[in-house]
Amino acid sequence: MRNVDSTRHVRGESLFVDDIVSPQGTLYGYVYYSSIAHGKILSIDFEEALHVHGVKGIISAKDIPGENQIGGIVQDEDLFAEEFVHFIGHPIALVIAESFLQAHDAAKKIKCVFEKLPAVFDPREAAEKGELIIPQRIFELGNINKAWKKCDYIFEGTVENGGQEHLYLETQGSLAFPIEGGGIKIISSTQGPTTVQRTAARVLDLPMHKIEVDVTRLGGGFGGKEDQATAWAIMAALAALKLNKPVKIILPRQEDIRITGKRHPYSSDFKIGLTKNGKILAYDVTFYQNAGAAADLSPAILDRTLFHCTNSYFIPNVKATALSCKTNLTPFTAFRGFGGPQGMFVIESAIYKAAKELGIDPSEIQKINLLKEGNEFPYGQKTLNCNIKKCFAGVEEKYKPEEVFDRIREFNSKNKLVKKGAAIMPVTFGISFTTTFLNQASALLHIYTDGSVSISSAAIEMGQGVNEKLRIIAANELSINIERIRIDSTNTSRVSNTSATAASKGTDLNGFAVIDACKILIERLKKVAADELKLYKTSRIVLKNEMVFYKNDKTDLTFTKLVNIAYQKRISLTAQAHHSTPNIYFNKKTNKGEPFAYHSYGVGIMEVTLDCLRGIYEVDSVKVVHDFGDTINKTIDLGQAEGGIVQGIGWMTMEELKWNSEGKLLTDALSTYKIPDIHAVPKEMKIHFLENVSNPFGPNNSKAIGEPPLMYGIGVYFALMNAMR
């Protein structure tokens, strides 16, 4: 059966926030923001702006009935600046008018006088000044001081990685309107509806039950709408409450790029020690995370950098230090990989440097240090069902790296102006929110008397195919035709206290909750069937292919018939189930525990061609062997892998965030911030699904797939480095 979301997409019938028919009289909001990176607001004058035709009001900090606070992890972020502005793009006010253009014109007439204050953009400079978001974090394993003495080689270095704009095709947006009893309904393009609800309640000084957040789908999220969708949703809600009118905010692309958070740039120092035969004995790394002007999710992202600082390798002695540094740039936020890619980039840089100095290929070091079953990570968890070596062996068998390297050596010896390069990139990624309490989800399942089924869960559909995966899971569990099942919007009135759809966990958490809800209903239906068939026990009754079976014999009870009998017998056809990942914990004081339900594994080999005259390059191929567990839907998983790889390549190559000395983003449009187009992708992409790798910790034995493939992009960077060698 065809994926229903996809079917709507290709017909242009999927409704994004800006496509939903707006209520009559909807007004449009335009965000007025700081034009300087750091300063004091001396005065602000809305007078002239308020007189622009069509303008209905301007709201700012003084209009907030509750707290002017939207920070989640740390309470350090205001919705509207009051006394100080901390970055270019810091919202100061919202102009509300009958049309977008009127609001936009009026915003130009706001007169704001600032006193400029010194601004910091470099994370190391911020760290020197003690400007940290949270105290520094350190993960340790073994004893690094003793280990250096045993090393035959020690190499040190410093590396920088740039940030990345999410560039979801649908910009941030929300529509809010008053509902009966002083409440507000918010339709938002957010990955975290409960975050929006909770924060709106705080800002609007309303109980959470008066705020309903509804999300049908997102035109891409990638982490950029996990925390960063909140501000626009709340501004719209605040304006709707104040003016008693529906209010819509859709950020124009350039504003979206300028004022919303992105992947964190890091500056990092490493020291790596190896034995003569290439075993890594010790690794000391310090990460300076550029967090921007407020915490946002930076502390959690910082932790994941530490969790993944040794990537796919067992290193017995590790000291990893991470500092979240406060600067005067937009607060950086979640982005596919969530700090993991930055951690992996540094260890791969260390290996590259060691290999270069030793005159060998980095893959030689990579291979002999790969994780084995039972190896301990710096955070105390030991590998279980470790498949990284299987993936590596798969790459060797299918893609013949030795032949690739030989072919490249031969090519390079014959060509002066064009050089080729290749690299291998292993990826090991922990699956779970590392903030343990977030690993919960619930599902609400209705069966209607016509046999159709509706499922609500905490999962947000943003292109990753979670809706279709949940349908497959439910159809499989209930053993009914998938056509009967509809995934409803994610709504805080139907499913409460949701965790954001993030950390690649959407299908895992919500899938298990759906399975549990299905099981509850099956049990009830079996009892009804037993009763109807005048049997005492339900244990021999099975629901299969839309029919009731007893002792393997088909009865004449169909699913629809059974459902109707249940209704007649006054049996509830609704079930709610809650799932929480078992056996995970993490002690933030000792920084040890079992934070992950399991790990995702994969290895890729990448080839590039470099034009040395013009300084341009092409990616010839990316070939991967990846552990998907038992895939729930191969088309979806393949798409996640291909899409993640290309996004990762974009980050490591052409995508560039460039600020001027005043902290103004120069690459603030699609004309200057370039993401891969159809010509820029690898000419060949091969994704092999590793066989016989059922995952007992995933629904239907599957594995999470959202984030891990992005990190193959790091390999393309090193392939280019190798081409330049």
């Binding site: 017909r11 095709l169 798409g639 449009a669 993401i675």
Partner: protein, 469 residues
């Protein structure tokens, strides 16, 4: 009144002709399948097809509706994704679903429209060309793997299902690539064409293709009465008169790119211009617009400079000619009077012993603005350079003609030393600045490399790359 067909519906509207077509589609007609992704022609989520009567048949081209004035739809057929929808999925839609060519779905209608446009426009089909036609659409989710597979599968469906008894349009209709109403569009357009009078409202804002003007200032354009000139047939077309080639100012870049005449004189012409914008941009952007826009990194201007082109200006009956290299006075400042419009540009056909090359470096190879671009035209006589014109974009406030470098190279023989000296001279007549497209040093280095690239490409036997670099 502006009269056109939107999908299957006849439209008559008296809205400002400068209204953005995308806004008309989404806000006036509530057709929300067409998306707004960037409003600068860089994402393709707003792609529509524009059908126009050309010599008795309807020709369709993909266009970014975010940069197109409503007035230019007059007398045409505008097709959005809703206009492609039938009861069942079209083969393009079905293969996009089956191959995973869509994830979040926001860019998807644009891809479906572009790909359908490819089938409408091309009698002979192959996957590479189909992919080429999607160069104006970006997708952030899929990595394009599924989209490429869908393009290839759609072609197979067409090839397997087409019948020689039907013409191309009938084949597309019978295989459900497009709905049946496309049959009658030709007749319906003929009726509109007969009835309509061209939009005429002369004002000071002259809008040609609008592909940069609408990026820079759509907010002010929509409330002004622009003078839309891109549909003025008198200003369009490419012709040869004696030894001179004329290109009308309203000729689109795509028409220029696919000109058989120009391809004859410049064998790599099609490749050079494939680096200009994207297909939907090239379908709207015009030669005149590119010249008057005066962007220091304009690709077409860069080429025309090296062809030592002449700009033909007209103010009513007054005509004036000026060499393109003398047309630019400073950043976005032209030797053009307020009422003068660029009528055409002309250059001499290249002589038999001539050489031409165009080089462009941008962060992304396609649909990107150059960091630096450069063109060279050269005539040789017994090993000596007799005529030479070199242009350089992105290294000065204006599209630059490298006067001193050309003066140095004239009457020289080509060898490594000469080229090195020329590069040295060129570095002294440029003034690049650091911006989003690179630092001043990087651009300076790039121009040197591109000068080397010109000679390495044109005279590989005369230049030793080892000594050059």
């Amino acid at each position: 009144m502006i009269n056109f067909i939107l999908n299957d519906l006849n439209i008559s509207t008296d809205l400002f002709p400068t209204t953005v077509l995308l806004d008309f589609i989404r806000k006036e007609k509530m057709l929300t399948g067409t998306k707004e992704g960037c409003r600068e022609g860089d994402c393709g989520a707003c792609t529509i097809l524009l059908g126009e009567l050309v010599k008795g048949t309807v020709k369709y081209k993909s266009v970014n509706s975010c940069l197109m004035p409503l007035g230019d739809a007059n007398g045409k057929h505008v097709v959005t994704v809703e206009g492609i929808n039938q009861k069942e999925l079209s083969p393009v839609q079905a293969t996009m679903v089956d191959e995973g060519g869509t994830q979040c779905g926001f860019c998807t209608p644009g891809f479906v429209v572009s790909m359908t446009g490819y089938f409408l426009n091309n009698l002979s089909l192959n996957p590479d060309d189909a992919i080429e036609s999607l160069g104006g659409n970006v997708c952030r989710c899929t990595g394009y793997g599924g989209i490429k597979r869908a393009a290839s599968d759609s072609i197979s469906i067409f090839e397997d299902g087409k019948s020689d008894d039907r013409n191309h349009l009938e084949n597309l209709i019978s295989l459900k690539f497009i709905p049946i109403y496309f049959h009658d569009i030709k007749k319906r357009l003929e009726k509109i064409s007969e009835n309509h009078k061209s939009v005429d409202n002369k004002s000071s804002i002259v809008i040609s293709g609008g592909t940069d003007l609408y990026v820079q200032r759509w907010e002010s354009l929509v409330s002004s009465k622009g003078n839309l000139i891109s549909q003025d047939k008198k200003l369009a077309g490419i012709s040869k008169m004696g030894k001179q080639i004329n290109i009308g100012s309203a000729t689109t870049i795509e028409e220029t790119k696919s000109s058989k005449l120009l391809q004859k004189y410049f064998p790599q012409w099609d490749n050079y211009l494939s680096l200009f914008g994207s297909l939907p941009i090239r379908n709207r952007a015009t030669i005149g617009g590119n010249i008057v826009n005066a962007s220091p990194i304009g690709d077409m201007v860069n080429i025309l400079l090296a062809l030592n082109s002449t700009v033909h200006l007209r103010d009513g009956k007054k005509k004036r000619l000026i060499l393109l290299k003398n047309f630019y006075k400073g950043y976005k400042s032209l030797d053009k009077k307020k009422n003068e419009i660029v009528e055409k540009v002309s250059f001499q056909i290249p002589s038999k012993n001539s050489f031409f090359n165009f080089e462009k470096i941008s962060k992304r190879t396609y649909l990107d603005i150059a960091s630096v671009n450069s063109s060279i035209y050269m005539e040789l006589k017994s090993g000596k350079i007799t005529t030479i014109h070199i242009s350089a974009g992105g290294v000065a406030p204006i599209p630059l003609y490298l006067n001193n470098t050309c003066n140095y190279l004239r009457n020289k023989t080509i060898n490594t030393e000469t080229i090195k000296n020329a590069a040295e001279i060129s570095s002294k007549e440029i003034s690049p600045i650091s911006d989003a497209r690179g630092s001043a040093e990087y651009k300076s280095l790039l121009l040197r490399q591109l000068l080397f690239a010109h000679f390495l490409k044109l005279f590989p036997q005369l230049v030793d790359p080892e000594k050059l670099l």
